[in-house]
Protein backbone atom coordinates (compact mmCIF):
# COMPACT_ATOMS: atom_id res chain seq x y z
CA UNK A 1 0.00 0.00 0.00
CA UNK A 2 2.62 2.48 1.04
CA UNK A 3 4.77 1.54 -1.92
CA UNK A 4 1.91 2.28 -4.33
CA UNK A 5 1.35 5.75 -2.89
CA UNK A 6 5.06 6.45 -2.93
CA UNK A 7 5.25 5.37 -6.56
CA UNK A 8 2.31 7.60 -7.39
CA UNK A 9 3.95 10.45 -5.54
CA UNK A 10 7.20 9.79 -7.32
CA UNK A 11 5.40 9.91 -10.65
CA UNK A 12 3.79 13.19 -9.68
CA UNK A 13 7.05 14.83 -8.67
CA UNK A 14 8.71 13.53 -11.83
CA UNK A 15 5.96 15.03 -13.89
CA UNK A 16 6.03 18.39 -12.17
CA UNK A 17 9.80 18.47 -12.49
CA UNK A 18 9.52 17.73 -16.17
CA UNK A 19 6.98 20.52 -16.54
CA UNK A 20 9.30 22.87 -14.70
CA UNK A 21 12.18 21.95 -17.00
CA UNK A 22 9.98 22.43 -20.05
CA UNK A 23 8.81 25.79 -18.76
CA UNK A 24 12.33 26.90 -18.12
CA UNK A 25 13.29 25.66 -21.59
CA UNK A 26 10.57 27.82 -23.13
CA UNK A 27 11.77 30.82 -21.13
CA UNK A 28 15.40 30.34 -22.18
CA UNK A 29 14.46 29.92 -25.82
CA UNK A 30 12.46 33.13 -25.69
CA UNK A 31 15.22 35.02 -23.94
CA UNK A 32 18.29 33.69 -25.73
CA UNK A 33 17.60 31.22 -28.47
CA UNK A 34 15.23 33.26 -30.64
CA UNK A 35 17.28 36.48 -30.57
CA UNK A 36 20.36 34.37 -31.37
CA UNK A 37 18.57 32.87 -34.37
CA UNK A 38 17.52 36.34 -35.49
CA UNK A 39 21.05 37.65 -35.30
CA UNK A 40 22.45 34.59 -37.10
CA UNK A 41 19.98 34.98 -39.99
CA UNK A 42 20.81 38.69 -40.20
CA UNK A 43 24.56 38.00 -40.33
CA UNK A 44 24.02 35.38 -43.03
CA UNK A 45 21.95 37.72 -45.19
CA UNK A 46 24.45 40.53 -44.59
CA UNK A 47 27.48 38.53 -45.72
CA UNK A 48 25.60 37.18 -48.75
CA UNK A 49 24.50 40.62 -49.93
CA UNK A 50 27.81 42.22 -49.04
CA UNK A 51 29.60 39.77 -51.31
CA UNK A 52 27.58 40.80 -54.31
CA UNK A 53 28.02 44.58 -53.90
CA UNK A 54 31.05 46.02 -55.63
CA UNK A 55 32.01 49.62 -54.84
CA UNK A 56 34.92 51.77 -56.02
CA UNK A 57 36.53 50.99 -52.65
CA UNK A 58 36.20 47.24 -53.12
CA UNK A 59 33.61 44.81 -51.93
CA UNK A 60 31.06 45.93 -49.35
CA UNK A 61 32.35 44.71 -45.97
CA UNK A 62 30.79 41.59 -44.50
CA UNK A 63 30.62 40.73 -40.80
CA UNK A 64 34.08 39.14 -40.78
CA UNK A 65 35.74 42.23 -42.24
CA UNK A 66 34.00 44.41 -39.68
CA UNK A 67 35.09 42.23 -36.76
CA UNK A 68 38.69 42.34 -37.95
CA UNK A 69 38.41 46.14 -38.20
CA UNK A 70 37.22 46.27 -34.60
CA UNK A 71 40.43 44.44 -33.68
CA UNK A 72 42.47 46.86 -35.80
CA UNK A 73 40.81 49.89 -34.23
CA UNK A 74 41.53 48.55 -30.79
CA UNK A 75 45.15 47.81 -31.70
CA UNK A 76 45.57 51.33 -33.07
CA UNK A 77 44.24 52.69 -29.81
CA UNK A 78 46.70 50.61 -27.75
CA UNK A 79 49.60 51.64 -30.00
CA UNK A 80 48.65 55.30 -29.75
CA UNK A 81 48.52 55.11 -25.96
CA UNK A 82 51.95 53.49 -25.88
CA UNK A 83 53.29 56.25 -28.07
CA UNK A 84 51.83 58.88 -25.79
CA UNK A 85 53.31 57.21 -22.76
CA UNK A 86 56.70 57.04 -24.41
CA UNK A 87 56.45 60.72 -25.32
CA UNK A 88 55.72 61.74 -21.73
CA UNK A 89 58.55 59.57 -20.41
CA UNK A 90 61.01 61.14 -22.84
CA UNK A 91 59.82 64.60 -21.90
CA UNK A 92 60.20 63.84 -18.21
CA UNK A 93 63.77 62.52 -18.49
CA UNK A 94 64.68 65.48 -20.69
CA UNK A 95 63.25 67.95 -18.19
CA UNK A 96 64.90 66.16 -15.29
CA UNK A 97 68.25 66.36 -17.06
CA UNK A 98 67.82 70.10 -17.69
CA UNK A 99 66.78 70.78 -14.10
CA UNK A 100 69.83 68.84 -12.88
CA UNK A 101 72.06 71.03 -15.05
CA UNK A 102 70.34 74.32 -14.23
CA UNK A 103 68.20 74.34 -11.03
CA UNK A 104 66.51 77.66 -11.98
CA UNK A 105 65.03 76.12 -15.14
CA UNK A 106 61.27 75.72 -15.00
CA UNK A 107 60.37 72.56 -16.93
CA UNK A 108 57.74 72.96 -19.64
CA UNK A 109 55.20 70.20 -19.93
CA UNK A 110 53.80 69.80 -23.41
CA UNK A 111 50.73 67.75 -24.14
CA UNK A 112 50.94 64.86 -26.58
CA UNK A 113 49.30 65.79 -29.85
CA UNK A 114 48.77 62.45 -31.53
CA UNK A 115 45.69 61.70 -33.59
CA UNK A 116 42.51 60.72 -31.83
CA UNK A 117 41.66 57.03 -31.94
CA UNK A 118 38.25 55.46 -32.46
CA UNK A 119 37.89 55.01 -28.70
CA UNK A 120 38.76 58.65 -28.04
CA UNK A 121 36.09 59.63 -30.54
CA UNK A 122 33.52 57.49 -28.73
CA UNK A 123 34.34 59.17 -25.43
CA UNK A 124 34.18 62.62 -27.03
CA UNK A 125 30.80 61.84 -28.58
CA UNK A 126 29.41 60.54 -25.30
CA UNK A 127 30.58 63.60 -23.38
CA UNK A 128 29.11 65.91 -26.02
CA UNK A 129 25.76 64.18 -26.23
CA UNK A 130 25.36 64.04 -22.46
CA UNK A 131 26.29 67.73 -22.05
CA UNK A 132 23.83 68.76 -24.76
CA UNK A 133 21.15 66.51 -23.36
CA UNK A 134 21.60 67.68 -19.76
CA UNK A 135 21.51 71.32 -20.88
CA UNK A 136 18.29 70.56 -22.76
CA UNK A 137 16.80 68.85 -19.70
CA UNK A 138 17.73 71.76 -17.44
CA UNK A 139 15.83 74.09 -19.77
CA UNK A 140 12.99 71.79 -20.82
CA UNK A 141 11.80 70.27 -17.55
CA UNK A 142 11.23 73.50 -15.58
CA UNK A 143 9.75 75.18 -18.67
CA UNK A 144 7.53 72.17 -19.33
CA UNK A 145 6.30 72.19 -15.73
CA UNK A 146 5.57 75.89 -15.91
CA UNK A 147 3.70 75.43 -19.19
CA UNK A 148 1.72 72.54 -17.74
CA UNK A 149 0.70 74.69 -14.79
CA UNK A 150 -0.25 77.76 -16.80
CA UNK A 151 -2.67 77.40 -19.70
CA UNK A 152 -1.79 80.93 -20.80
CA UNK A 153 1.90 80.22 -21.10
CA UNK A 154 1.14 76.98 -22.89
CA UNK A 155 -1.00 78.80 -25.45
CA UNK A 156 1.75 81.38 -25.91
CA UNK A 157 4.66 78.99 -26.38
CA UNK A 158 2.99 76.06 -28.11
CA UNK A 159 3.13 77.47 -31.68
CA UNK A 160 6.84 78.18 -31.34
CA UNK A 161 7.50 74.64 -30.18
CA UNK A 162 5.43 73.12 -32.96
CA UNK A 163 7.39 75.09 -35.56
CA UNK A 164 10.89 74.44 -34.24
CA UNK A 165 10.37 70.80 -33.28
CA UNK A 166 10.64 69.36 -36.82
CA UNK A 167 13.75 71.38 -37.78
CA UNK A 168 16.70 69.21 -38.81
CA UNK A 169 20.00 69.64 -36.99
CA UNK A 170 21.65 70.31 -40.35
CA UNK A 171 19.69 73.53 -40.63
CA UNK A 172 20.65 74.73 -37.17
CA UNK A 173 24.32 73.90 -37.48
CA UNK A 174 25.51 76.80 -39.70
CA UNK A 175 23.67 79.28 -37.50
CA UNK A 176 25.04 77.78 -34.31
CA UNK A 177 28.57 77.74 -35.74
CA UNK A 178 28.45 81.39 -36.75
CA UNK A 179 26.89 82.56 -33.52
CA UNK A 180 29.32 80.58 -31.37
CA UNK A 181 32.37 81.92 -33.22
CA UNK A 182 31.01 85.44 -32.86
CA UNK A 183 30.02 85.21 -29.20
CA UNK A 184 32.36 82.65 -27.69
CA UNK A 185 35.68 84.53 -27.90
CA UNK A 186 38.17 83.83 -25.20
CA UNK A 187 41.96 83.76 -25.38
CA UNK A 188 42.06 80.68 -23.17
CA UNK A 189 38.87 78.74 -23.86
CA UNK A 190 37.77 76.23 -21.26
CA UNK A 191 36.28 73.97 -23.92
CA UNK A 192 36.77 74.04 -27.66
CA UNK A 193 34.39 75.83 -30.01
CA UNK A 194 33.62 72.65 -31.88
CA UNK A 195 32.41 71.07 -28.66
CA UNK A 196 30.10 74.03 -28.01
CA UNK A 197 28.80 73.82 -31.58
CA UNK A 198 27.87 70.15 -31.36
CA UNK A 199 26.50 70.51 -27.86
CA UNK A 200 24.23 73.45 -28.71
CA UNK A 201 22.97 71.72 -31.86
CA UNK A 202 22.11 68.67 -29.79
CA UNK A 203 20.34 70.87 -27.23
CA UNK A 204 18.35 72.74 -29.88
CA UNK A 205 17.03 69.52 -31.36
CA UNK A 206 16.44 67.50 -28.19
CA UNK A 207 14.80 70.16 -26.07
CA UNK A 208 11.37 69.97 -27.77
CA UNK A 209 10.14 66.44 -27.01
CA UNK A 210 11.06 66.98 -23.36
CA UNK A 211 9.15 70.27 -23.10
CA UNK A 212 6.08 68.80 -24.79
CA UNK A 213 5.96 65.62 -22.75
CA UNK A 214 6.61 67.37 -19.46
CA UNK A 215 3.88 69.92 -20.18
CA UNK A 216 1.39 67.18 -21.13
CA UNK A 217 2.32 65.21 -18.03
CA UNK A 218 1.77 68.20 -15.77
CA UNK A 219 -1.45 69.40 -17.39
CA UNK A 220 -3.04 65.96 -17.27
CA UNK A 221 -2.69 65.46 -13.52
CA UNK A 222 -5.90 64.14 -11.99
CA UNK A 223 -8.21 66.92 -10.75
CA UNK A 224 -8.74 65.03 -7.50
CA UNK A 225 -5.04 65.27 -6.66
CA UNK A 226 -5.12 69.00 -7.41
CA UNK A 227 -8.13 69.32 -5.10
CA UNK A 228 -6.19 67.55 -2.34
CA UNK A 229 -3.47 70.14 -2.78
CA UNK A 230 -6.04 72.94 -2.61
CA UNK A 231 -7.71 71.59 0.53
CA UNK A 232 -4.31 71.27 2.19
CA UNK A 233 -3.43 74.81 1.01
CA UNK A 234 -0.01 73.64 -0.19
CA UNK A 235 2.30 76.48 -1.15
CA UNK A 236 3.25 76.75 -4.82
CA UNK A 237 6.67 75.20 -4.20
CA UNK A 238 5.33 72.34 -2.08
CA UNK A 239 2.59 71.79 -4.65
CA UNK A 240 5.16 71.36 -7.42
CA UNK A 241 7.48 69.27 -5.27
CA UNK A 242 4.93 66.97 -3.65
CA UNK A 243 2.18 66.69 -6.26
CA UNK A 244 3.20 67.93 -9.71
CA UNK A 245 6.68 66.45 -10.02
CA UNK A 246 5.91 62.93 -8.80
CA UNK A 247 2.67 62.81 -10.79
CA UNK A 248 4.38 63.75 -14.03
CA UNK A 249 7.60 61.76 -13.58
CA UNK A 250 6.48 59.00 -15.96
CA UNK A 251 5.76 61.50 -18.75
CA UNK A 252 8.97 63.42 -18.04
CA UNK A 253 10.93 60.21 -18.51
CA UNK A 254 9.10 59.40 -21.72
CA UNK A 255 10.17 62.81 -22.97
CA UNK A 256 13.73 62.21 -21.82
CA UNK A 257 13.93 58.90 -23.66
CA UNK A 258 12.64 60.43 -26.88
CA UNK A 259 15.01 63.36 -26.47
CA UNK A 260 18.09 61.29 -25.82
CA UNK A 261 17.34 59.23 -28.94
CA UNK A 262 17.05 62.43 -30.97
CA UNK A 263 20.16 63.85 -29.32
CA UNK A 264 22.31 60.88 -30.27
CA UNK A 265 21.15 60.91 -33.90
CA UNK A 266 21.64 64.65 -34.16
CA UNK A 267 25.10 64.50 -32.65
CA UNK A 268 26.47 62.13 -35.28
CA UNK A 269 25.11 64.33 -38.07
CA UNK A 270 26.47 67.49 -36.44
CA UNK A 271 29.92 66.03 -35.94
CA UNK A 272 30.02 64.83 -39.51
CA UNK A 273 29.00 68.09 -41.09
CA UNK A 274 30.91 70.46 -38.84
CA UNK A 275 34.07 68.38 -38.48
CA UNK A 276 33.64 68.40 -34.75
CA UNK A 277 35.54 65.61 -33.03
CA UNK A 278 33.54 62.47 -32.31
CA UNK A 279 32.15 59.40 -34.02
CA UNK A 280 30.57 61.46 -36.79
CA UNK A 281 33.95 62.91 -37.69
CA UNK A 282 35.45 59.45 -37.62
CA UNK A 283 32.90 58.30 -40.22
CA UNK A 284 33.49 61.35 -42.38
CA UNK A 285 37.28 61.04 -42.17
CA UNK A 286 37.15 57.41 -43.19
CA UNK A 287 34.86 58.29 -46.09
CA UNK A 288 37.31 60.97 -47.26
CA UNK A 289 40.25 58.67 -46.68
CA UNK A 290 38.87 56.13 -49.15
CA UNK A 291 41.22 53.25 -48.45
CA UNK A 292 40.23 49.65 -49.05
CA UNK A 293 39.49 49.31 -45.36
CA UNK A 294 37.39 52.45 -45.03
CA UNK A 295 34.00 50.87 -45.61
CA UNK A 296 34.62 48.17 -43.03
CA UNK A 297 35.75 50.81 -40.53
CA UNK A 298 32.64 52.90 -41.22
CA UNK A 299 30.49 49.81 -40.79
CA UNK A 300 32.23 49.18 -37.46
CA UNK A 301 31.34 52.75 -36.48
CA UNK A 302 27.72 52.19 -37.55
CA UNK A 303 27.43 49.13 -35.34
CA UNK A 304 29.05 51.03 -32.47
CA UNK A 305 26.72 54.01 -32.89
CA UNK A 306 23.69 51.71 -32.82
CA UNK A 307 24.93 49.85 -29.79
CA UNK A 308 25.67 53.01 -27.82
CA UNK A 309 22.27 54.42 -28.74
CA UNK A 310 20.71 51.25 -27.37
CA UNK A 311 22.75 51.49 -24.16
CA UNK A 312 21.79 55.15 -23.67
CA UNK A 313 18.11 54.22 -23.94
CA UNK A 314 18.58 51.39 -21.46
CA UNK A 315 20.39 53.80 -19.16
CA UNK A 316 17.40 56.16 -19.08
CA UNK A 317 15.06 53.21 -18.53
CA UNK A 318 17.12 52.09 -15.55
CA UNK A 319 17.12 55.63 -14.20
CA UNK A 320 13.35 55.73 -14.64
CA UNK A 321 12.91 52.49 -12.74
CA UNK A 322 14.95 53.93 -9.94
CA UNK A 323 13.23 57.33 -9.87
CA UNK A 324 9.64 56.48 -10.69
CA UNK A 325 6.96 55.20 -8.33
CA UNK A 326 4.95 53.33 -10.96
CA UNK A 327 7.64 50.91 -12.16
Amino acid sequence: MTSITSIAQQALTDRSMMMAVLNQGAKISKLLLLPAVGIAVFLLLWSMTANSIQTSLGKFPGPVAVVSQFENLYQEHVDERLKAQAFYERQETRNAARVAKDPTYEPKIRAYTGKETFWDQIVTSLITVMSGFILAAVIAIPLGIWMGLSKGLQAAINPIIQIFKPVSPLAWLPLVTMVVSAVYVSPDPLVSKSFINSMLTVTLCSVWPMIINTAIGVSSIDDDLLNVSKVLRLSAITHVKKIVLPASIPMIFTGMRLSLGVAWMVLIAAEMLAQNPGLGKFVWDEFQNGSSESLARIMAAVVTIGFIGFLLDRGILTLQKWASWDQ
Binding site: D224, V231, R233, L234, I243, P246, A247, D326
Partner: protein, 290 residues
Protein backbone atom coordinates in the same frame (compact mmCIF):
# COMPACT_ATOMS: atom_id res chain seq x y z
CA UNK B 1 -26.34 81.98 19.27
CA UNK B 2 -25.41 81.76 15.61
CA UNK B 3 -25.32 78.45 13.78
CA UNK B 4 -22.06 76.56 13.46
CA UNK B 5 -22.27 76.13 9.69
CA UNK B 6 -24.72 78.22 7.72
CA UNK B 7 -25.36 77.69 4.02
CA UNK B 8 -27.63 80.54 3.01
CA UNK B 9 -29.27 81.49 -0.25
CA UNK B 10 -26.77 79.63 -2.41
CA UNK B 11 -27.26 79.72 -6.18
CA UNK B 12 -24.86 78.02 -8.53
CA UNK B 13 -24.83 78.87 -12.20
CA UNK B 14 -22.43 77.14 -14.57
CA UNK B 15 -21.67 78.70 -17.94
CA UNK B 16 -22.05 76.16 -20.74
CA UNK B 17 -21.68 76.52 -24.51
CA UNK B 18 -25.49 76.44 -24.73
CA UNK B 19 -25.94 79.23 -22.21
CA UNK B 20 -25.91 79.29 -18.45
CA UNK B 21 -27.08 76.31 -16.44
CA UNK B 22 -28.53 76.88 -12.98
CA UNK B 23 -27.54 73.84 -10.95
CA UNK B 24 -28.58 75.13 -7.53
CA UNK B 25 -31.24 77.63 -6.60
CA UNK B 26 -31.59 79.13 -3.15
CA UNK B 27 -30.09 76.36 -1.07
CA UNK B 28 -30.44 77.00 2.67
CA UNK B 29 -29.11 74.73 5.37
CA UNK B 30 -28.09 75.19 8.97
CA UNK B 31 -25.88 72.64 10.65
CA UNK B 32 -25.02 72.45 14.35
CA UNK B 33 -21.71 71.45 15.82
CA UNK B 34 -21.28 67.70 16.09
CA UNK B 35 -24.16 66.96 13.74
CA UNK B 36 -23.93 64.23 11.12
CA UNK B 37 -25.84 65.39 8.04
CA UNK B 38 -26.48 63.34 4.91
CA UNK B 39 -27.31 64.87 1.55
CA UNK B 40 -29.39 62.52 -0.54
CA UNK B 41 -30.95 62.92 -3.94
CA UNK B 42 -30.90 61.57 -7.46
CA UNK B 43 -27.70 61.84 -9.44
CA UNK B 44 -27.31 65.21 -11.10
CA UNK B 45 -29.23 67.04 -8.37
CA UNK B 46 -26.23 69.07 -7.30
CA UNK B 47 -25.32 67.33 -4.05
CA UNK B 48 -21.65 67.38 -4.97
CA UNK B 49 -21.91 71.01 -5.97
CA UNK B 50 -23.19 71.89 -2.49
CA UNK B 51 -20.31 69.97 -0.94
CA UNK B 52 -17.77 71.61 -3.21
CA UNK B 53 -19.09 75.04 -2.31
CA UNK B 54 -18.74 74.26 1.40
CA UNK B 55 -15.25 72.92 0.70
CA UNK B 56 -14.42 76.15 -1.12
CA UNK B 57 -13.51 74.35 -4.32
CA UNK B 58 -16.44 76.11 -6.07
CA UNK B 59 -17.55 79.68 -5.52
CA UNK B 60 -21.30 80.11 -5.16
CA UNK B 61 -22.80 82.43 -7.79
CA UNK B 62 -25.06 83.94 -5.14
CA UNK B 63 -25.29 83.52 -1.39
CA UNK B 64 -22.56 81.90 0.64
CA UNK B 65 -21.34 79.66 3.40
CA UNK B 66 -20.48 80.84 6.89
CA UNK B 67 -18.47 78.59 9.18
CA UNK B 68 -18.04 79.79 12.78
CA UNK B 69 -18.89 83.37 11.78
CA UNK B 70 -16.36 83.44 8.95
CA UNK B 71 -17.28 83.31 5.31
CA UNK B 72 -15.81 80.44 3.30
CA UNK B 73 -13.89 81.82 0.34
CA UNK B 74 -11.27 79.18 -0.46
CA UNK B 75 -10.49 75.55 0.30
CA UNK B 76 -8.77 74.77 3.58
CA UNK B 77 -7.90 71.95 5.93
CA UNK B 78 -10.53 73.02 8.50
CA UNK B 79 -13.03 71.71 5.94
CA UNK B 80 -11.31 68.41 5.08
CA UNK B 81 -12.74 66.44 2.17
CA UNK B 82 -12.94 62.67 1.77
CA UNK B 83 -13.19 62.24 -1.99
CA UNK B 84 -15.25 59.57 -3.67
CA UNK B 85 -12.28 57.84 -5.26
CA UNK B 86 -9.94 58.20 -2.28
CA UNK B 87 -7.56 60.66 -4.06
CA UNK B 88 -4.50 59.31 -2.32
CA UNK B 89 -1.18 60.22 -3.87
CA UNK B 90 -0.19 56.93 -5.48
CA UNK B 91 3.55 57.47 -5.01
CA UNK B 92 3.27 57.81 -1.23
CA UNK B 93 2.57 55.12 1.35
CA UNK B 94 -0.53 55.36 3.54
CA UNK B 95 1.61 56.82 6.30
CA UNK B 96 3.17 59.40 3.99
CA UNK B 97 -0.22 60.40 2.60
CA UNK B 98 -1.44 61.22 6.09
CA UNK B 99 1.93 62.76 6.93
CA UNK B 100 1.63 65.26 4.07
CA UNK B 101 -1.60 66.56 5.60
CA UNK B 102 -0.31 66.54 9.19
CA UNK B 103 2.90 68.36 8.25
CA UNK B 104 0.89 71.00 6.45
CA UNK B 105 -1.69 71.56 9.20
CA UNK B 106 0.44 71.16 12.32
CA UNK B 107 3.72 72.68 11.16
CA UNK B 108 5.17 74.53 14.14
CA UNK B 109 2.48 73.18 16.48
CA UNK B 110 3.78 69.64 16.86
CA UNK B 111 7.28 68.26 16.97
CA UNK B 112 8.40 65.26 14.96
CA UNK B 113 7.57 62.70 17.61
CA UNK B 114 4.12 64.15 18.22
CA UNK B 115 3.44 64.20 14.49
CA UNK B 116 4.45 60.55 14.16
CA UNK B 117 2.19 59.60 17.05
CA UNK B 118 -0.70 61.62 15.62
CA UNK B 119 -0.34 60.03 12.16
CA UNK B 120 -0.20 56.55 13.65
CA UNK B 121 -3.12 57.32 15.95
CA UNK B 122 -5.32 58.31 13.01
CA UNK B 123 -4.34 55.29 10.96
CA UNK B 124 -5.11 53.11 13.96
CA UNK B 125 -8.50 54.77 14.26
CA UNK B 126 -9.44 53.53 10.79
CA UNK B 127 -7.74 50.16 11.44
CA UNK B 128 -5.06 50.72 8.89
CA UNK B 129 -2.02 50.57 11.16
CA UNK B 130 -1.11 47.13 9.81
CA UNK B 131 -0.61 48.46 6.27
CA UNK B 132 0.82 51.88 7.08
CA UNK B 133 3.77 51.54 4.79
CA UNK B 134 1.94 50.15 1.79
CA UNK B 135 1.19 52.30 -1.22
CA UNK B 136 -2.38 52.81 -2.47
CA UNK B 137 -1.68 50.46 -5.39
CA UNK B 138 -1.00 47.64 -2.96
CA UNK B 139 -4.19 47.87 -0.88
CA UNK B 140 -7.88 47.28 -1.64
CA UNK B 141 -10.50 49.91 -2.44
CA UNK B 142 -11.95 49.84 1.05
CA UNK B 143 -8.53 50.19 2.61
CA UNK B 144 -7.74 53.16 0.37
CA UNK B 145 -10.94 54.85 1.45
CA UNK B 146 -9.97 54.23 5.11
CA UNK B 147 -6.64 55.96 4.55
CA UNK B 148 -8.51 58.81 2.85
CA UNK B 149 -10.67 59.15 5.95
CA UNK B 150 -7.62 58.98 8.22
CA UNK B 151 -6.01 61.76 6.21
CA UNK B 152 -9.10 63.94 6.57
CA UNK B 153 -9.47 63.20 10.32
CA UNK B 154 -5.79 63.93 10.89
CA UNK B 155 -6.39 67.52 9.79
CA UNK B 156 -8.72 67.91 12.81
CA UNK B 157 -11.32 69.61 10.64
CA UNK B 158 -14.17 71.75 11.91
CA UNK B 159 -16.34 70.02 9.32
CA UNK B 160 -15.65 66.72 7.63
CA UNK B 161 -16.97 66.64 4.08
CA UNK B 162 -17.52 63.25 2.51
CA UNK B 163 -18.43 62.92 -1.16
CA UNK B 164 -20.02 59.49 -1.53
CA UNK B 165 -17.16 58.00 0.45
CA UNK B 166 -18.31 54.41 0.05
CA UNK B 167 -19.95 54.72 -3.36
CA UNK B 168 -17.26 52.76 -5.18
CA UNK B 169 -17.16 49.89 -2.68
CA UNK B 170 -18.98 46.57 -2.75
CA UNK B 171 -21.90 46.06 -0.37
CA UNK B 172 -20.06 44.04 2.27
CA UNK B 173 -17.08 46.36 2.44
CA UNK B 174 -19.45 49.28 2.53
CA UNK B 175 -21.33 47.94 5.56
CA UNK B 176 -18.03 47.35 7.27
CA UNK B 177 -16.91 50.90 6.53
CA UNK B 178 -20.18 52.33 7.82
CA UNK B 179 -19.70 50.50 11.11
CA UNK B 180 -16.14 51.84 11.33
CA UNK B 181 -17.33 55.35 10.61
CA UNK B 182 -19.99 55.13 13.37
CA UNK B 183 -17.39 53.88 15.79
CA UNK B 184 -15.08 56.79 14.93
CA UNK B 185 -17.96 59.23 15.14
CA UNK B 186 -18.80 57.96 18.65
CA UNK B 187 -15.26 58.83 19.72
CA UNK B 188 -14.73 62.14 17.95
CA UNK B 189 -18.22 63.56 17.47
CA UNK B 190 -17.21 65.48 14.35
CA UNK B 191 -19.48 67.69 12.34
CA UNK B 192 -19.98 65.77 9.11
CA UNK B 193 -21.66 66.42 5.79
CA UNK B 194 -21.91 63.25 3.74
CA UNK B 195 -23.27 62.77 0.26
CA UNK B 196 -24.88 59.43 -0.39
CA UNK B 197 -27.11 57.55 -2.79
CA UNK B 198 -27.82 54.87 -0.28
CA UNK B 199 -31.01 55.22 1.77
CA UNK B 200 -29.95 52.71 4.45
CA UNK B 201 -26.61 54.41 4.80
CA UNK B 202 -28.26 57.79 5.26
CA UNK B 203 -30.66 56.58 7.96
CA UNK B 204 -28.07 54.49 9.76
CA UNK B 205 -25.40 57.18 10.02
CA UNK B 206 -27.16 60.53 10.15
CA UNK B 207 -28.68 62.87 12.67
CA UNK B 208 -30.33 64.75 9.86
CA UNK B 209 -31.11 63.73 6.29
CA UNK B 210 -31.30 66.52 3.75
CA UNK B 211 -33.24 65.44 0.69
CA UNK B 212 -32.65 67.43 -2.45
CA UNK B 213 -35.00 68.03 -5.34
CA UNK B 214 -34.03 67.19 -8.90
CA UNK B 215 -32.00 69.64 -10.92
CA UNK B 216 -31.81 71.96 -12.72
CA UNK B 217 -32.43 74.61 -10.05
CA UNK B 218 -32.14 71.93 -7.39
CA UNK B 219 -32.69 72.91 -3.79
CA UNK B 220 -33.36 71.42 -0.38
CA UNK B 221 -36.67 69.54 -0.60
CA UNK B 222 -37.22 68.10 2.86
CA UNK B 223 -35.18 67.71 6.00
CA UNK B 224 -35.68 64.60 8.10
CA UNK B 225 -34.47 64.40 11.71
CA UNK B 226 -33.18 61.00 12.72
CA UNK B 227 -33.55 60.54 16.45
CA UNK B 228 -32.49 56.93 16.72
CA UNK B 229 -30.42 56.31 19.84
CA UNK B 230 -26.70 55.75 19.45
CA UNK B 231 -24.75 53.53 19.27
CA UNK B 232 -26.78 52.10 16.44
CA UNK B 233 -26.69 48.49 15.37
CA UNK B 234 -27.70 47.64 11.82
CA UNK B 235 -29.18 44.25 12.71
CA UNK B 236 -31.30 45.54 15.61
CA UNK B 237 -32.47 48.50 13.55
CA UNK B 238 -33.68 46.30 10.71
CA UNK B 239 -36.64 45.36 12.91
CA UNK B 240 -37.05 48.80 14.46
CA UNK B 241 -40.29 50.57 13.52
CA UNK B 242 -38.85 54.10 13.76
CA UNK B 243 -35.96 53.09 11.52
CA UNK B 244 -38.33 51.67 8.95
CA UNK B 245 -40.56 54.74 9.12
CA UNK B 246 -37.57 57.01 8.38
CA UNK B 247 -36.38 54.71 5.66
CA UNK B 248 -39.71 54.70 3.88
CA UNK B 249 -39.99 58.47 4.27
CA UNK B 250 -36.73 58.87 2.34
CA UNK B 251 -37.79 56.29 -0.22
CA UNK B 252 -41.10 58.06 -0.73
CA UNK B 253 -39.37 61.36 -1.26
CA UNK B 254 -36.98 59.88 -3.80
CA UNK B 255 -39.35 57.63 -5.72
CA UNK B 256 -42.72 59.35 -5.41
CA UNK B 257 -42.24 63.06 -4.92
CA UNK B 258 -38.98 63.39 -6.84
CA UNK B 259 -39.38 60.44 -9.16
CA UNK B 260 -36.82 60.63 -11.90
CA UNK B 261 -36.98 58.67 -15.14
CA UNK B 262 -33.42 57.86 -16.11
CA UNK B 263 -32.72 57.58 -19.81
CA UNK B 264 -31.43 54.20 -20.95
CA UNK B 265 -28.09 55.60 -22.23
CA UNK B 266 -26.81 55.34 -18.71
CA UNK B 267 -26.48 51.56 -18.99
CA UNK B 268 -23.14 52.11 -20.70
CA UNK B 269 -21.92 54.15 -17.76
CA UNK B 270 -23.26 51.56 -15.37
CA UNK B 271 -21.25 48.79 -17.00
CA UNK B 272 -18.18 51.00 -16.78
CA UNK B 273 -18.76 51.46 -13.07
CA UNK B 274 -19.06 47.71 -12.70
CA UNK B 275 -15.71 47.23 -14.41
CA UNK B 276 -14.11 49.59 -11.95
CA UNK B 277 -15.56 47.84 -8.93
CA UNK B 278 -14.51 44.48 -10.34
CA UNK B 279 -10.99 45.78 -10.66
CA UNK B 280 -11.08 46.89 -7.05
CA UNK B 281 -12.31 43.47 -6.01
CA UNK B 282 -9.45 41.84 -7.83
CA UNK B 283 -7.00 43.97 -5.92
CA UNK B 284 -8.76 43.03 -2.71
CA UNK B 285 -8.47 39.35 -3.62
CA UNK B 286 -4.80 39.78 -4.28
CA UNK B 287 -4.27 41.41 -0.94
CA UNK B 288 -6.13 38.75 1.00
CA UNK B 289 -4.32 36.00 -0.93
CA UNK B 290 -0.97 37.41 -0.03
Amino acid sequence: MSTFLDISGVDMVFPTPKGSFTALKDVNLKINKGEFVSLIGHSGCGKSTVLNIVAGLYQASKGGVILKNTEVSQPGPERAVVFQNHSLLPWLSSYQNVELAVKQVFAGKMNKVEMKEWIEHNLKLVHMDHAMHKRPGEISGGMKQRVGIARALAMQPEVLLMDEPFGALDALTRAHMQDSLMEIQNQLNNTVIMITHDVDEAVLLSDKIVMMTNGPEATVGEILDVNLPRPRDRLALAEDSEYNRLRSAVLKFLYEKQRKVEPIINSKQASKMQDISQKDNKIADKVTAS
